[in-house]
């Protein structure tokens, strides 16, 4: 106020109207922004390298992935004339397309074969209909020899080359997947498929992905739960030791990080296999019969045990850091007020550690839901996660679109769970350190 009214005579206290003004009469906000501009630019320059790095290595790949899950240019790019000609054809009529479609197709294919694009197109369509890959590869060689100017009509010729060209289903697949932006990958990811009649369920024997999603969620929750149960007492002990012993114990918790993940996981095979340490001991103790050894590896049990072990430090560390800040006088106060040890723990200590449990749970759950190596090694068929399927589609089947769709769904699931956690527990209640 003083600054703003300086120029006015002191005796007549002026009524302040409009925005606050600086000493020189410019608006105070503008003045403040100018004086802070240099600081802001300097700060921005300092974080610029990291910002660029994050943009290049994080935002762009994720954006790419999200885009890959809907992108479907290959059909329309490789067979532009065919796609246009197929516009008028109705797959539901049960009749084959007319000659113009075949002519357009041959024209497109000659060009595609020359550019060696036809095999890629075959691979793409093979995701939707088995046999398309070989159909395109084999036909490609013979279509190359057709002369577009002289060899008309093409319908019979093509059906001659491969009888599948005389199948309505083949053309239906091409038409269905000719759109440039498709929901086909997402439908596949939830055990459905894109058909001329709209989205339909996959046949019973091909419905595996939804089950896998549910299993991934349940097992991640189980792993998080067992990490809480095992980690809580450990964190409590470490937090309540004198600094020297506490640090030593903390190093023991971190020790597994110094060993290769592969070695740690493989060690569990040695422990849990049927001729392994645990089974041998149980047989020796006559707890189980020699011919009824427990199956604890290459199934859900193996995955949960091994992943609990591997993710435990991520649970212990946030819990420890929260517990360390809890003043022991809270427990004393509770006891002096008449609470038994258990009541004091449950009503006073435990609620104060919830932020640590929350932080640890979020860390462990999010790591678990996308874990790949451990389920791959110890999970067998019943203990694998959705991420193993994603890896399969990226490196083996090369169906990147489906992999991207699966990954997008996983990302969405995590975000939804995070949102739910925020609603139920409140994200302010999470302390990572």
């Amino acid at each position: 106020m003083a600054d703003a009214t300086q120029s006015a005579p002191m005796q007549s206290a002026p009524v302040q109207t409009g925005p606050m003004l600086a000493a020189d009469g410019t608006p105070l906000k503008q003045s403040l922004a100018r004086s802070l501009r240099n600081q802001k630019i300097r700060a921005l320059a300092l974080i610029a390298p990291l910002l660029l790095f994050v943009l290049l290595s994080f935002v762009i790949p994720i954006g790419q992935m999200l885009f890959k899950s809907v992108e479907n240019d290959i059909v329309a790019d490789t067979l532009p004339l065919t796609v246009a000609a197929l516009q008028d054809w109705d797959a539901a009529s049960g009749e084959l397309p007319d000659e113009p479609v075949y002519e357009a197709f041959v024209t497109d294919m000659i060009e595609a074969v020359a550019a060696k694009q036809h095999t890629r197109l075959g691979t793409r369509l093979n995701y939707e209909e088995t046999g398309m890959s070989s159909l395109f590869r084999k036909s490609g060689r013979q279509i190359r020899r057709i002369d577009i100017a002289e060899d008309a009509p093409f319908k019979e010729k093509l059906i001659d080359i491969n009888e599948d060209w005389g199948d309505v289903e083949t053309w239906s697949v091409i038409k269905t997947h000719s759109v440039r932006m498709t929901n086909g990958y997402f439908l596949n990811a939830v055990d459905m498929k894109r058909t001329p009649e709209g989205a339909q369920s996959q046949p019973e024997d091909r419905q595996i992905l939804v089950k896998l999603f549910i299993r991934t969620l349940i097992m991640s929750l189980a792993i998080t739960g067992s990490c809480i149960l095992l980690g809580y007492p450990i964190a409590w002990i470490i937090a309540n030791q004198p600094a020297r012993i506490g640090n030593l114990l903390l190093i023991l918790v971190l020790l597994p990080f110094w060993t290769s993940l592969l070695v740690r996981t493989s060690a569990w095979i040695v422990m849990l296999q049927q001729q392994g340490v645990v089974n041998e001991i149980l047989v020796w103790l006559n707890v189980i019969a020699d011919d009824a050894r427990l199956v604890m590896i290459r199934n859900e049990v193996g995955t949960i045990v091994a992943m609990t072990h591997i993710l435990l430090p991520f649970m212990i560390l946030p819990m420890y850091s929260v517990m360390q800040t809890i003043n022991p006088s809270y427990l004393r106060a509770a006891k002096s007020l008449g609470a038994t040890n258990f009541t004091a723990f449950w009503r006073v200590y435990f609620p104060l550690t919830v932020p640590g449990i929350g932080a640890g749970s979020i860390l462990v759950f999010i790591l678990a839901i996308g874990y790949y190596i451990t389920p791959e090694i110890v999970g067998g068929t019943s203990g694998i996660f959705i991420s193993n399927r994603i890896a399969f589609h990226i490196s083996s089947s090369l169906n990147w679109g489906l992999a991207a769709a699966l990954a997008s769904i996983l990302l969405a699931a995590v975000l939804i769970l995070y949102w739910a956690y925020d609603k139920i527990v409140g994200i302010d209640n999470v302390k990572l350190g």
Binding site: N327, S329, Y330, R332, A333, K335, L337, A339, A344
Partner: protein
């Protein structure tokens, strides 16, 4: 230092009926009571004291010995450590520590042989420097530490093996220890809930407790939303809401600013007295101890150095630690020249003679530390007795403090000798460089043990 206060009388064990030997008819109390009497002489809270007062003229501590002058029979000399202490009498003490020791590491004792009795309704302060064992004593009473040796009695029952939550002792912690995840009302409700009280009873009690500390409007807030003073009040209300008979307070005002601290001092003492609760208060702030307490126990080195009402403590410190710890204090070193009844002549190290009251010196030739309060020093001869020995002093510094003048002198080699004089119209303002004679009444100058 405390054992010096313990008259461990040789005759007690050897002669089961000392009255036979000394012709005393009333000698039926145990040694513990004698000690209690020694510490509480003048307070006269029990019959025991009165009975003994009639036979014992004075107790004085002289190093390792305790002198007890009797009205009949010879003076008894007791020697520290010769005798086992007698079993305690079942007295009317509400809280009692009996020969309590505490060690954390098995090598050093944090609390050495603590003996303490508190009647119901007393406000006792444990005062001492950090590490003197006062908080450990409080924690043993609360049940968070176990006594290595000795007994702690609450209302005549040994509570050594009773867990803290069954002791029913209210406690106010240094950092308040209000549960941050609960509202104020929930914090107060907690002790009532664990006592399985019905909801309507709880609400009534919570309301009363909050109104008592003038925090009625804050029940729905969380501790973090309150200021330090408000948290302090809530902590107090929480410790009182389940109506304990004994309340412990561990430096509860330590985190408050000076003004608030003084206000809370009055509020706490008022509350404690109005409710009639017995309070043990731990602090290292001597002003707090003097203004709040019925009695103050001064701790040092794991022992109670002196336990007395504030005025006695200030005016008649029993040893030089207490004299220096409580209030401002001038000390002069010297040697006892002669002792005549209640007066002693002490020769200071520069040869000057002064009159003192012998407190724990017994014979000529002993080294002594003489203690005089700054406000009891006089430089106006008219106010002193005839024939008082005067001491030469040089004024070093004069400080105007408003209500008082504070003058720093050099006396007998000590250049940090302070005198305080009230700011009155006729008061002399001394100037640095002036040479004056100072003196005091013999009873204001106490000859204590040389540290």
């Amino acid at each position: 230092m405390v054992p010096k206060l313990w008259p461990i009388l040789p005759f007690n064990a050897k002669h089961s009926r000392p009255s036979d030997r000394f012709g005393l008819t009333a000698w039926s109390v145990s040694l513990r009571s004698v000690v209690g009497c020694s510490a509480k002489r003048g307070a006269a809270t029990s019959n025991v004291v009165k009975r003994l007062e009639s036979v014992a003229l004075s107790f004085s501590d002289c190093g390792d010995n305790v002198l007890i002058r009797m009205d009949r029979g010879p003076t008894v000399t007791a020697t520290d450590g010769e005798m086992p202490l007698a079993e305690s009498q079942s007295s009317d003490a509400f809280v009692a520590f009996e020969r309590v020791q505490k060690s954390y590491d098995g090598e050093t004792l944090v609390v050495k042989d603590l003996n303490l009795e508190m009647p119901k309704g007393e406000f006792l302060t444990m005062l001492g420097p950090s590490g003197s064992g006062k908080t450990t004593c409080l924690m043993m009473l609360a049940g968070f530490e176990t006594a290595t040796h000795g007994k702690i009695l609450l209302d005549g029952i040994s509570i050594n093996n009773i867990p803290p939550h069954k002791r029913g002792i209210g406690m106010v912690f240094q950092n308040y220890a209000l549960f941050p995840h609960m509202t104020i009302a929930e914090n107060l409700s907690f002790p009532l809930e664990v006592r399985k009280m019905s909801k309507s009873d709880r609400e009534a009690k919570i309301k009363r407790a909050l109104d008592m500390v003038e925090m009625g409007a804050f029940g729905g807030r969380r501790p973090a939303q309150l200021s330090g003073g408000q948290q302090q009040r809530v902590a107090l209300a929480r410790a009182l809401v389940f109506e304990p008979e004994l309340v412990l307070m561990d430096e509860p005002l330590g985190a408050l600013d000076k003004q608030l601290r003084e206000k809370m001092q009055f509020e706490i003492t008022d509350l404690a007295h109005n409710l009639g609760i017995t309070t043990v208060y731990v602090t290292h702030d001597q002003t707090e101890a003097l203004t709040m307490s019925d009695r103050v126990a001064v701790f040092d080195d794991g022992r109670i150095q002196q336990i007395d009402p504030p005025d006695t403590l200030y005016e008649s410190p029993q040893n030089s630690f207490v004299a220096q710890f409580i209030g401002e204090n001038n000390t002069l070193e010297g040697t006892v020249k002669e002792i005549k009844g209640k007066e002693a002549l002490v020769q200071l190290d520069d040869g000057e003679l002064i009159d003192c009251k012998p407190v724990n010196v017994s014979q000529p030739g002993e080294r002594t530390l003489v203690s005089i309060r700054p406000e009891r020093v006089e430089f106006n001869k008219d106010r002193l007795q005839e024939g008082t020995h005067m001491v030469k002093a040089e004024v070093l510094e004069f400080i105007y403090m408003g209500d008082v003048f504070r003058t720093r002198l050099k006396v007998a080699g000590n250049d940090n000798f302070i005198i305080k004089s009230r700011n009155a119209p006729d008061q002399v303002r001394l100037k640095p460089g002036e040479h004056i004679d100072i003196g005091w009444l013999p009873e204001d100058c106490r000859a204590l043990d040389a540290v």
